[in-house]
Amino acid sequence: MDNPSQLKWTAEEAARLVRESYGSVVPQGLGVAESLYTPDEIAWLPESVTAYALGLGNPIRYADLQPGESVLDVGCGAGIDTFLAARKVAPTGIAIGLDMTPEMLARARANQKILGLTNVEFREGRMENIPLPDASVDVVISNGVLNLSTEKGQTFRELYRVLKPGGRLVFSDSVVNGQLPRAVLDSEAAFAG
């Protein structure tokens, strides 16, 4: 939702709603991953990664990541985009996944062990208060996450803060064309999904 003033939840309530929704999600196959990524892109990833693909797009495809770059993946979930980024920036670059949902972070860290990637780290935190220093990453990516913030102004200030000068933000998200009915704005499933 692009206009937080229309939503009935406070920032904390919205965050709790998102955390509960994504923390308890049960995968239903690989349909999302197969709709967003090519076989070549994801063939090397285990199902414990691809089954938890819940993004809306493929920001890696547009991010033009280069070896040696540092990348922050905001709302990384179980890590699919973080791992794809890590592969692109290897061997000297680093991919950092950020998520506020403990269950997803646990999956991401377990997936990292399965993959044996050393240029990846995962941090717990909110996009409104990113646990990184100023000007510390070359690229920020996000996949269907930024709209889950009810404080987008604060979120974008944080994204701007952690990027190095000349850095880029590349993300996918949903955009509303016009107004949504009140019933949809008040729907927890519509907001968190």
């Binding site: 999600v25 239903q28 797009g57 880029r168 509303v176 016009g178």
Partner: protein, 63 residues
């Protein structure tokens, strides 16, 4: 989205892709039940969501 990004200082805004959202696409997501999707699309004329999925790119100015 673009407004908040520009207010934060980002420049060089680009919309890299844009596509409509279909019910068939949303059915892939475990966060949505079929019943919810039926209800959601019924809220709109001709059962088309006024929502599209897009990729964006913004740049932080160099020093």
């Amino acid at each position: 989205m673009i407004r908040e990004a520009k207010n934060a200082g980002f420049t060089d805004a680009h919309i890299l892709s844009k596509e409509a959202v279909s019910k068939e696409r949303l059915k892939l997501y475990p966060l949505f039940s079929v019943e919810f999707l039926d209800w959601l699309f019924a809220q709109f004329p001709e059962q088309e969501l006024p929502v599209y999925l897009a990729h964006f790119r913004f740049t932080k100015p160099s020093l």
